[in-house]
Symmetry: C2
Amino acid sequence: MSLNVALVGIGKIALDQHVPALKASPDFTLAATVSRKGSVEGVPAFTDFATFLESRPDVTVVSLCMPPAPRYDYAEAALLAGRHVMLEKPPGATLSEVHALEALAKSKGLTLYATWHSRMAHAVAPAKAWLKDKAVQVAHITWREDVRKWHPGQDWVFEPGGMGVFDPGINALSILTEILPAPVHLKKARLEFPANRQTPIAAQLTFSGNVTADFDWRQEGPQTWDIEVQTSQGHLALRMGGNVLELNGKPSGGENTIMGEYPALYARMAQLVKTGSSEVDLSPMTHVADALTLGERVAVEDFHF
Amino acid sequence: MSLNVALVGIGKIALDQHVPALKASPDFTLAATVSRKGSVEGVPAFTDFATFLESRPDVTVVSLCMPPAPRYDYAEAALLAGRHVMLEKPPGATLSEVHALEALAKSKGLTLYATWHSRMAHAVAPAKAWLKDKAVQVAHITWREDVRKWHPGQDWVFEPGGMGVFDPGINALSILTEILPAPVHLKKARLEFPANRQTPIAAQLTFSGNVTADFDWRQEGPQTWDIEVQTSQGHLALRMGGNVLELNGKPSGGENTIMGEYPALYARMAQLVKTGSSEVDLSPMTHVADALTLGERVAVEDFHF
């Protein structure tokens, strides 16, 4: 039986990813949208969240796609109204607020799912399986993309709480924390802040265990989303944001997932609701908070879209 | 029976607080120090931690008092060598590294105690008891002190990871998170960074539930460490860093602790070791990481000691 879900915050990510995933989902029916401006053709549209919650008790799941800063208030209201909640990444503006949501969901017996879409990329599960019994010697993340291409004119990413280059970088960290056989922690970070902006546009991170990361949002031309891991028993590379696996320099046919990232997230949400459980792993977000706590701040040239 | 303890990092806080507390402790004997420069008269002094761990198996507890940045490596080495570990505040340079220590201590069956000395101030326990069944309407922290007086020439507090004004501010947050009947989370923060420094010298924080904080490290003359809480059933003020309690404007005789802060920390550590348990509450440090993640950064004038 299909569950009714409402999408809240109809912007780029909702239209590009959530709507197609829901239209193809065997588990969910897109039964409402809530957004100040956006809507989806053929789906009842609300502009006020409280009105939606009151008038649509048949919609038992809400999926929150707005930027992280306002997300807490919606998630809290939804849980207090007895709805299961799915959160886009990052799950909130602060770690403490997600801890609070987790406690609230638990106390109400509801599902809270803090999603990390990159963990559902095709090659992540096979990479994890391959690394499981190996000793990691060195690992390096290269995550270089063009913010003008992926967030055109979205000034909020450079405003306080917008996370800057950690908005894509947290995708890399969500994969890293999923595939490594043992956790790492940050030892050092260098953060490049444009003089006219509040969040970093580039970051170089050094973790324990010879794990490093290079995040840059100024990459024009070819884009790079690679993770390379050298082990005592060979070399693994994840390319294209976790979608392509190479073992010892050769493409591997080891793909054992068949869905795209967002269809897989909704399948997981359906499973969590069915089993009455939650999934909230804050380790990628904790690494970002650690970088902003520990990092050296370097001023670089102004950035304009 | 008294436990042998080693103090590691013999600087100002060790000499001012830890040594007198240990000399008066019925639970511990100060059996060694480890420090590049400092020592304590009459106590065997080591300069190298690995040498100490190898040569003094009789010392089952280590208390780490150095600045947070190098603390992880010592804590990990101590736990791997089968010692119980007590950490000065803040418990580390990153949240992830303390999570890692917690997991390590658990796997080895050892005690890890992340201390918050301000929670042991005289009036904190009575304040907590008074607030327990009350509805908080508004709360405000004023934590204004002179960094030149309390950290003379200690440039590390302004270096990456040194936390700046959050070094004293985290004491206020450790009390707040202890006494409030329900948790809060940060909504907004304004951070004042001296143009020549890497960490903030002042911060204004706005939490959920009408809780605010004003931290400033430029306070000359009288120093202020106050927490005021308005409830539906009266007003509470904690003054002098948690040592003085006022209820409805009148001094309260409600003190039910009789020890100083550091003697109380060591008594708690003895109890944790005896019962084979750990105590690691990261909520004060999470609020600081949240402030550095979410905060608006404002440049203020250069600071020189």
